[in-house]
């Protein structure tokens, strides 16, 4: 498991090299570099290339790759695998992501580290299977029932698909929680150069292990240490409300409250350590208009901002890299001197409404659905319309 000799031998053939590949494939290689031990998935456009590439390559590094009967089972299998100590992941798109919600909730409640890749396509339902979208932003946040927090990252290039797999696994192990790489079909199917890092630069976060006999589901720390199967600790893992020792207690109000609040707070209280944004502020600092975007949409957005600057307009730009927990402090800071923020998204305004909650200026959604990403011109037109 992890970075054993088999994996190092395989990765030695790839390190420091640059390849031309799909975002989905970059995600697969990124997972192998991140020490992924186990993949379980089910075919779905536009995420199948993640599974196909891992099926080809992961065994060469000594990892296991299996196809399950559906997405419910895939998510279940990666949770089971994680409790043996392995780094485990799955990949899917909207319809499969909907099916996984059940066991995402289970992974949250049992504090199981694991990684999900959602290559978003156009929905609801089967929608436009082959067309990209960003329609699962809120499903990622609230798709499974009950109070919870989630970590989700949004890459905007094939290189980031690769790099963020390490970040996802590290966050999952650090905070004992499922982490979602919230890609969109455009980035999944983009073909770009990806540079593999030197093996020596890989620094996987280690799971904090519980001492023998120590509680695995509570205690003083927000993130308790974990115990793996086969260690003689008779660990009891349940999705029902449980005490710090793992035993069910589904009736005592304070037991439920303490458990759910701790699971919620372990992400909320660490939000500043988790959150990453990228800002491109106009040079004179006089902007009254800003643009916030993420994923594939961030690319034409930045293009439009630069074009508007070439016309002499002052426009600020921010890209959300971490989607959840939401960068509310960073967004509020960005909005401080602005009159208006434009939010281009490949949905009908899911994140623009989230931004509205934390700023005092006007927020204008620039939605686009139908399976074709925004063009630079469309966003440029939206900017000039409000800036003139």
């Amino acid at each position: 498991m992890g970075f054993n000799e088999d994996r190092k031998r395989y990765l030695a053939g790839l390190e420091d090299k640059t390849y031309f590949m799909l975002g989905d494939e970059a995600c697969a290689y990124g997972a192998i570099f991140a020490g992924c031990d186990f993949f379980a998935g089910y075919p779905i456009t536009p995420a199948s290339e993640v599974a196909e590439r891992l099926a080809e390559e992961l065994p060469k590094a000594g990892g296991l790759c299996i196809q399950m009967e559906d997405e419910l089972a895939s998510m279940a299998a990666i949770v089971g695998a994680s409790w043996t100590g392995g780094r485990s992941m799955t990949a899917t798109s909207g319809p499969g992501f909907s099916l996984m919600q059940e066991n995402i909730g289970y992974a949250i409640m049992t504090e199981t580290p694991c990684v999900l890749v959602d290559v978003q396509r156009s929905g609801p339902s089967t929608g436009q299977a082959t067309k990209p979208a960003q329609g699962d932003m809120m499903q990622a946040r609230w798709g499974t029932h009950g109070d919870h927090n989630i970590i989700a990252l949004s890459p905007n290039s094939a290189q980031e698909c690769f790099d963020m797999m390490q970040e996802c696994f590290n966050l999952a192990d650090t905070y004992r929680t499922p982490v979602i790489l919230l890609m969109d079909g455009e980035i999944g199917h983009i073909r770009e150069s990806v540079t593999m890092p030197a093996l020596s630069s890989i620094k996987p976060a280690a799971r904090k292990m519980a001492k023998p006999g120590e509680d695995v589901f509570g205690g003083e720390e927000l993130v308790p240490g974990i115990t793996h199967y086969g260690m003689g600790q008779n660990v009891h893992v349940t999705g029902s409300t449980h005490k710090a020792n793992g035993m069910r207690d589904v009736t005592t109000p304070h037991v439920h409250e303490a458990l759910v609040k701790r699971i919620y707070n372990k992400i909320d209280d660490n939000r500043e350590k988790i959150i990453r944004v990228e800002k491109d502020i106009s040079q004179n600092g006089q902007s009254k208009i800003g643009v916030i975007a993420y994923g594939a949409t961030a690319r034409p957005s930045l293009g439009a901002v630069r074009a508007a600057r070439d016309d002499g307009k002052n426009i600020d730009f921010m890209r959300l890299i971490t989607i959840w927990p939401f960068a509310r402090k960073q967004v509020a800071e960005f909005a401080k001197n602005l009159d208006m923020i434009l939010v281009p998204e490949m949905n009908l305004g899911q994140i623009s409404r989230e931004i509205e909650r934390f700023v005092n200026c006007k927020v204008v959604s620039v939605p686009k659905i139908g399976g074709v990403p925004h063009t630079v011109e469309e966003i440029y037109d939206a900017i000039t319309e409000v800036a003139s």
Binding site: M68, A76, T84
Partner: protein, 284 residues
Amino acid sequence: MSQPRNQMMNYIREEIMPHRFCPGCGCGTVLNVFTNAIDNLKLDPVKMVCVSGIGCSAWIPSPYFKSDTLHTTHGRPIAFATGVKVMRPDLKVVVIAGDGDVSGIGGNHLIHAARRNIDLSVFMVNNMIYGMTGGQVAPTTPTGVKTSTTPHLNIEPPFQVAELVAAAGASYVARWTTYHVFRLIKAMEEAITKQGFSFIEIVSQCPDNYGRRIGLRTGVEFLKMFKKQAIPIDKARELPEEKLEGRIIVGKLRDRERPEYTSELHRVTKEQVDKIKAEQEKIS
């Protein structure tokens, strides 16, 4: 006078006793039989992972059996167990779950695990009803029975789950009832030892939520009925189908050798690792 300690208590999380099964329930019998099988096999529970779903029989291993346990979502224990088993082939992975869990909501996972022939032991406690939720019709409820969701009597035929799993490809399949405790211990030993997917359908009683609707108010009445209804598989094979109406076919339905999924998965994975090794040795 204090009772001597039952040595099977060594396998129980004693601190959470007494158990919560209703009086006369078959789950206690299954737990007893299971601990006896483990004891006879001299298996170390440290080398076991017990997986269960949602429902009364899920409580048999979780929390009562003292080993690593995974108490999962409804219907999914076999899928969770698959992830555990492939990662730790050295651990015995046992699923104990109900008929609603395994053959209803989780039916797809059951047939695919049997098809793969993954080395799991699945013990399905079939009480023919959704007991925990108050007695709703199950895929295993006999036709014509009144339940809380079939107040005008069940119009559906029940699943023959053991036959289904045998047809899907499992290495070992048996069916016994909670009346046949010694046969059941033996069968569990065989199932746990068998390389490949092993499945035992354990016909069991739910006096509270099934019995009261068919006029059997105690566990004993059920056991007497099971004794009367049981027919050994060899005898059943000689009888025409109409003579088997209302009978429970008991015994071993399958015991065969087939390639096992976990070892096959590790074999093909190792082949790929070895190929990379050979390539690198050639270069250097």
